[in-house]
Symmetry: C2
Subunit: 257 residues, 2 copies
């Protein structure tokens, strides 16, 4: 039987507010066994851009990453957010190691081809080196992954944190019994985004398609669920969408085949 | 006989100018055997601070690191400078891994006590975990170290890159036959700072004291040489002070016991 591994993805909002960050780091430190934290940081990047007089450009909810914005996300995701999380986890006895996809060539990607929209220096993931990550984890290291990858030609690329979490979970499924948890502000997938009591406790692909067709599920939840089904099909043991305050794995929405 | 390891420390000026950085990365990639790169980044941090309307405060040539400046050096050293070097070394086939002292708890420090001057969030190194670093290096990993450490209480600390290089070389002397190279703009230790032909090819501690007494050696070169003698006494095989363009190890000033 494979060793269990929990991969927690937390959105920017959680890591950017001191109260929710403190709670998350405590809960994450208390999680038993092998684990990985993948974090966002978009709001901090936007704030830093504003302070530098650069306007964050968004198309279809996605950031356009020009050369200046690439420097900003490299600083904010790879430096400010990542290294502070690492230092604080170390203080809780977690042997954290901050990583971008460039470090140890963990995640290789390519610049997204320009079709209708030029998103700039944004990476679409080609492969995650699960073996190297697993080697670190077997030594007791806890990877803390920033949403940055590289193209192997010396260029860092801004990469969606949900995608990094999903692709990493898939690459590690060969080595571990992986539970992937997408954490955000809501209790899970809701029937009514305004009503926290409308949680959908489990969802399979057929139900997902029906919910999308009738408009119950929309927006950013759609790619999150697509990533989730993709992960389940690729051998990830369990995918849960839940609140950051519930990483115990017993609440939220469980994704089923 | 121990495996050879070369530890190169390069100042901010070298990594902040495209031409010298490109040359350095090529030369570093070509170095055979186990290796580590330790980098600065002070000028970039000062520039970023200026863009954010924060004035860099220096006392005795050392940066005062208040809370805002700590965020800036964390972004610039740990993110922008470090991760770009890592991505570019990966493009040259070097399995680089960017590290601060917080990552894997590699370098623990304490906040410098306030005596006459309060330098703020500046770290004095307590210990380097040579065993963990050696473990990574034996796996073919090439650490790229940013001048940041942590206090084990969740706080990152701005730390002198020369000190990080010296302490790391000392900690690795138990595992490797270490050559430590301090690289800067000059050919090495000069008799006359204005004359590149006045290189002192080797120097021992007695000569060093004489040169300091008669004013030949002064300023930032004094702590650099003190670090060097300290390293030699602690088992580091060879210490050289040289130009970044001469990391072949055959030129510059050789430090002797």
């Amino acid at each position: 039987m494979k060793e269990k591994l929990t991969l927690i993805k937390v959105g920017g909002k959680i890591v950017e507010e001191e109260d929710s960050l403190r709670q998350l780091l405590e809960d994450f430190a208390a999680l038993p066994g092998a684990k990985i934290l993948v974090h966002g940081g978009g709001r901090s990047a936007t704030r830093m851009a504003a302070r530098l007089g650069i306007e964050a450009q968004m198309i279809n909810g996605r950031r356009v990453t020009d050369r200046e914005m690439l420097d900003i996300v490299t600083m904010v995701y790879g430096g400010l957010v990542n290294k502070n999380i690492v230092a604080r986890l170390q203080a809780q006895g977690v042997n954290a190691l901050g990583l971008t996809g460039a470090d140890m060539d963990i995640i290789r990607s390519h610049k997204r081809p320009v079709k209708d929209v030029d998103y700039g220096f944004v990476g679409d993931v080609d492969r995650v080196n699960g073996e190297r990550l697993a080697g670190l984890i077997h030594k007791g290291v806890v990877p803390v992954m920033a949403p940055l990858t590289h193209d192997g030609q010396g260029r860092l690329l801004n990469t969606n944190a949900d995608t990094i979490a999903g692709e990493t979970a898939k690459a590690l499924a060969a080595f571990f019994d992986v539970t992937l948890m997408y954490c955000f502000e809501k209790k899970g997938v809701l029937r009514d985004a305004e009503d926290d009591n409308s949680l959908i406790p489990h969802i399979n692909e057929e139900e997902f398609r029906r919910y999308v067709a009738d408009g119950t599920i929309q927006g950013g939840m759609i790619p999150k669920l697509e990533n989730s089904f993709d992960a389940i099909h690729a051998g990830v043991g369990k995918v849960i969408i839940t609140q950051a305050s519930a990483i115990d794995g017993v609440s939220g929405t469980l994704i089923e085949k």
